[in-house]
């Protein structure tokens, strides 16, 4: 059992006060020294009090000091002796059963030994006072017989109180938490495993969603259907289409390129992906689609989250371009914002059917919005609108600093 702080759900504590030392595993050195400082800070001054009281009553400073340090040390013994011995046992890394026996024995030894120390300290005080019963006498009388019953009870209660102080101070309560700790640790491990499993499930689902988003089935199968439809009548077109589709798929799924997927996709890569997609669409739509892709050289290597742009381009094609008969045009552009040159602006502009008023499902652009929010929070701005001149204009604005961070 290692030292160090326990996970929150494993901490049980000794007194349930939430004191800092209770966050450590009981009877480890980390636990013992912090506990000794804390409880010692309460117990030692209490012990020293006896010396002060003694000194005041006896009017002898030296005698008071002698009683005081003995009493203080005996109090320190109560809180530190058993736990320290137990920590030595834990440190020895014995097998569990032997360790448990050792720790319990050490706590017991600590209680007995500190009791003896305390008794000696009090006796010293009693002797110096030179009158009344010594503590030893009290114990002898308690078991000796001819005391009236109420005295017996009184002394019994006294004894019980003393025993409680020694047991609690000596760490008997911490035994409960110590003995139960393996079970709590097991529970914790199970819970953590479960949480991790859930997390990796989520991650897997997210990856799958990304894959599905990357190769939109309508796009893939319609492209294949067009290739299949033209293969006899227009073999050159069918061939171009299949080539364009292959390039798109390679650009879309970096793992299909044979290399590891890039850790930080760049704007150039994302533009390339969109260009491939538009090439396929232009072939499919038989010349009625023209497109312009413009990315300044200076922005090519800017890191840019994957899939945002292609989602916007797909959205423009599906809802704006395909839905319109006749010639259509789409433009993809990246630039530094004119209003604020520290911001990057990426635009997808089409002259398709534009937006109709009303409620829209818009799953694709919802993904864009939530991905942007997840990656860049309020720093990112997304807007999709139909300008008065028609068509649609989607824009993503991001601070360059956020992208390069």
């Amino acid at each position: 059992m290692g030292t160090g702080m326990l996970p929150g759900d494993v901490v049980q504590g000794e007194f349930g006060t939430g004191w800092y030392y209770e966050r450590f595993s009981p009877f480890t050195w980390d636990w013992v020294w912090r506990r000794t400082i804390l409880l010692g800070a309460l117990a030692v001054p209490f012990g020293a009090m006896l010396g002060i009281v003694h000194g005041l009553f006896a009017h002898r400073l030296e005698e008071g000091m002698a009683v005081g340090w003995r009493s203080a040390v005996s109090m320190l013994f109560i809180v530190a002796l058993g736990p320290s011995l137990a920590a030595m046992v834990r440190n020895a890394a014995w097998p569990r059963r032997r360790e448990v026996a050792g720790v319990v024995a050490c706590v017991a030894i600590g209680i007995v030994a500190s009791w003896s120390a305390r008794t000696l300290a009090l006796e010293y005080h009693d002797q110096l006072m030179g009158e009344g019963f010594t503590t030893l006498d009290r114990v002898v009388h308690l078991f000796g017989g001819d005391w009236p019953i109420h005295s017996l009870l009184e002394n019994g209660t006294d004894l019980l109180a003393t025993l409680t102080v020694h047991a609690v101070g000596g760490g008997a309560l911490a035994l409960r938490s110590y003995l139960d700790e393996p079970r709590r640790l097991r529970n914790h491990a199970e819970q953590r495993e479960l949480a991790q499993l859930r997390l990796s499930n989520l991650a897997a689902e997210a990856r799958l969603a990304v894959l599905q988003a990357q190769v939109e089935p309508h796009f893939l199968f319609n492209t294949l259907a067009t290739a299949s439809a033209t293969i006899d009548t227009d073999p050159a077109r069918a061939r171009d289409l299949i080539l364009a589709l292959s390039q798109y798929l390679r650009a879309t799924l970096p793992s299909w390129r044979g290399g590891a997927s890039p850790v930080r996709p760049t704007l150039a890569e994302q533009f390339d992906l969109c260009r491939r997609y538009l090439e396929v669409m232009a072939l499919r739509l038989g010349g009625r689609l023209t497109f312009v892709v413009s990315l300044p050289e200076t922005l090519a290597t800017v890191p840019f989250p994957s899939l945002l742009l292609i989602s916007l381009v797909e959205n423009a094609v599906t809802h704006g371009i395909e839905a319109k008969s006749g010639a259509v045009r789409i433009e993809l552009r990246a630039q530094l914002s004119r209003d604020d040159p520290t911001e990057l602006e990426v635009l997808v502009i089409d002259d398709g059917v534009g937006l109709d008023e009303g409620l829209v499902e818009g799953t694709g652009i919802s993904n864009v919005r939530s991905q942007l929010a997840m990656l860049h929070g309020a720093a990112a701005r997304f807007r999709l609108e139909s300008p008065p001149e028609g068509g649609a204009r989607a824009s993503i604005v991001l601070p360059m600093a956020a992208l390069n961070a």
């Binding site: 796009f219 294949l224 067009t226 439809a229 038989g286 839905a323 409620l359 499902e361 609108e385």
Partner: protein
């Protein structure tokens, strides 16, 4: 029996031509009367030619293939084509209509044609109303994420989760969101039928609010109450009829 009349609707020309060729090949007696490139042409052709059978792509410009069939209201045996079988397509299985996945293989088209022949002999054209109703219900159940409304002289997409309330005014409905304010011509009644009833409540004849944005209900004399919303200083009227929904607030 006279030659069965057919139409083929598909927006991508090469695919449409290939489907027509294949169809004439496996069903020589069919008379393809029209080839349509979008939903409106399809609707026109259905009404004009009153075909016995129709091969219709679901996704088409202008009007979707399904809406074209629904609006035509002519009895016709419809075979839908689609590139990807979304959940909606499951509905076809329950109706009398067949559907084909693209690219369409000769074998699959042959079996669709065999079914169509049986149906033609049996009379009673299935116009797929049942399947369409199912599809409509499915469409209705889909969660809307955006509302596109007019801001200035542009139509802008506003995320529905940022919308605080809708309020009807003379000719329009005001859409007030966290960031912007827009107008839309859709009526509150129409909006209400498509908004998630767990998220939006009608609280007044002229007001629908986002429940989660409601902060407080204020008494403004007599039986009149107003709602205070998070994210706006505007107060909205609450009808007595709707007031009880906010009991305990």
């Amino acid at each position: 029996m006279s030659r069965p009349v057919a139409i083929v609707a598909e927006d991508e020309t090469p695919q449409r031509e290939a489907l027509k060729r294949l169809l004439c090949d496996v069903w020589p007696e069919v008379d393809v009367r029209a080839e349509c490139g979008d939903g409106f042409e399809t609707l026109e052709a259905l009404n004009l030619h009153r075909p016995d059978v129709a091969f219709i792509d679901i996704r088409m410009p202008g009007l979707s293939g399904m809406l074209a069939v629904a609006q035509a209201c002519v009895p016709v045996h419809v075979v839908f084509t689609t590139a990807y079988a979304e959940h909606a397509v499951q509905a076809f299985d329950q109706g009398a209509v067949d559907y084909l996945l693209k690219p369409v293989s000769r074998e699959r088209l042959q079996s669709a044609v065999a079914r169509l022949r049986d149906r033609l002999v049996g009379g009673a054209p299935a116009n797929g109303d049942g399947a369409l109703a199912l599809l409509r219900a499915h469409e209705h159940a889909r969660k809307m994420h955006w509302i596109s409304a007019t801001v200035g002289n542009a139509v802008r997409m506003i995320p529905l989760d940022e919308v605080l309330f809708f309020q009807s005014s003379d000719k329009y409905t005001r859409v007030v969101s966290l960031r912007t304010e827009a107008v839309i011509r859709t009526s509150l009644k129409e909006l209400l039928s498509r908004l998630d009833p767990a998220e939006f409540w009608q609280v007044h004849r002229g007001v629908i609010v986002r429940v989660a944005a409601v902060r407080a209900m204020h008494a403004v004399g007599g039986e009149r109450y107003e709602l205070g919303l998070e994210g706006t200083s505007e107060r909205l009227p609450v009808s007595v009829a709707f007031k009880s929904r906010f009991r305990g607030m």
